[in-house]
């Protein structure tokens, strides 16, 4: 596992990638790929699909690194948004071809609520704002945290969440509402 890298180091690498420095892309990959692969796996739940998304994401970084500065966002968040966006594209393509395929991408979603999986969150090298979110999320019940995380990461509505997680719609709505109220109070103290 690579050592945690500071935001400044990541920004310097992205700047060099913008100048078409392949060694910098490799270094950026080495620092960030495990984190982003974890994110892609969480979104897609399938190794081959997550590998494709990871590959596409770093090619996007290679081509668009010059736009990074304009985003004014923390480097890992920028990279994460690229992966999330690519993964959502993949999920949409999958959904539109679902007629001839099984729902393997959705299979294991229901299992995330069983409570026997350890908390997957990890703020080891997260930016300051993500660390605050981590603190506040860890005060929620696991199931509330899971519903909120999946709602954001997979861009799901209440009814889509209920369907994919095999939960009653009212339950999903209640967990999200309560989770948001608690988070609001907590984030107000941190940020």
């Amino acid at each position: 596992m690579p050592l945690p890298t500071s935001d400044a180091e990541l920004v310097a690498l992205i700047d060099r990638v913008a100048l078409r420095d392949e060694a910098a892309l490799r270094a950026l990959y080495d620092c960030t790929a495990p984190r982003l692969f974890g994110l892609a796996l969480r979104l897609l739940r399938r190794h081959d699909a997550a590998e494709d998304v990871l590959q596409e994401s770093y090619l996007t970084v290679w081509r668009a690194a010059a736009d990074y500065r304009a985003s004014l966002s923390p480097p890992l968040a920028w990279l994460g948004l690229i992966v999330r966006s690519r993964a959502l594209d993949a999920l949409r393509r999958h959904a539109s071809s679902r007629a001839d395929r099984t729902q393997e991408l959705d299979d294991s979603l229901g299992h995330t609520l069983e409570g026997d999986t350890p908390d997957p969150m990890d703020a080891a090298d997260a930016s300051e704002q993500a660390a605050a979110l981590h603190q506040c999320l860890s005060r929620l019940e696991l199931r509330q945290r899971e519903v909120l995380s999946l709602a954001y990461l997979r861009d799901l509505s209440h009814s889509e969440l209920a369907q994919q997680m095999a939960l009653p719609l009212g339950t999903v709505k209640t967990w999200i509402r309560r989770g948001l109220v608690q988070l609001r109070g907590c984030m107000a103290r941190y940020v």
């Binding site: 668009a64 304009a70 004014l72 990279l79 990890d122 954001y152």
Partner: protein
Amino acid sequence: MHLSQHPELLETLAASYALGTLRGGARRRFETLAREQPAVRAAALLWQSHWAGLTELQAPVPPPAAVWTRIANRVAADRGVPQRNSRPVPPVRWWHSLGLWRGATGLGLAATAAAVVVALQLNGGMRATQLQMAGLKAELATVSAPQAGYVAVLRDDKAAAALLVTFDARAQQLQLQRVGGFEVPAGRSLQLWALPTGGKPRSLGVLADGRTQALPAQPAQVQDIPLLAISLEPLGGVPSEGGPTGPVLFTGEWIAHNG
């Protein structure tokens, strides 16, 4: 309804808007309020940046070595293509996408359609800038700075002017004049940044409460800067080295002019 007078409701709505679970008519009503009320827009932007942190919190998993090999092959192939063809991004795109906290829209990546982004309305915005620039120069003559070498009008996403910034080379200070009614949320500060081409944003200072303010600045700090921006930060601002941490609310071209 003036949502900013109901802070808890505003925060909850902004959080569910940015989360993506506020949908349908409720989402459209929130977007209307966000267009009308800067405080609503600011809350939505803050929550968008909060939620973006979720992408950083997933447990790491080492990818198979073959993934890098495929990336390296594609990058090598990419090198054979002239760069202009592979990335036909017009130069204006840089500041068009400037205010996008979520950052990805310039790449066609706006997956959850951040509708409340602080994007400058390029066509209308440019014309409006030129028109208002003429009036502004007249106004400047009365403001105080006979040798103001630079000027910027910082605007929000509706091209509404919020702040007038001029540089007084003789006094070596930036003159700030608020022209909009933006209310800073409690416990936060606005911070002014210089955005050099291809360099890191550099802090020019934290805004005070009053309508006018002078910030000391050396000519070197404001030369060759195409853009200024104002971000919403924790109270007292953040260190310059790390760059902005909060959403960018206002931006404006930093234009050199001769007295």
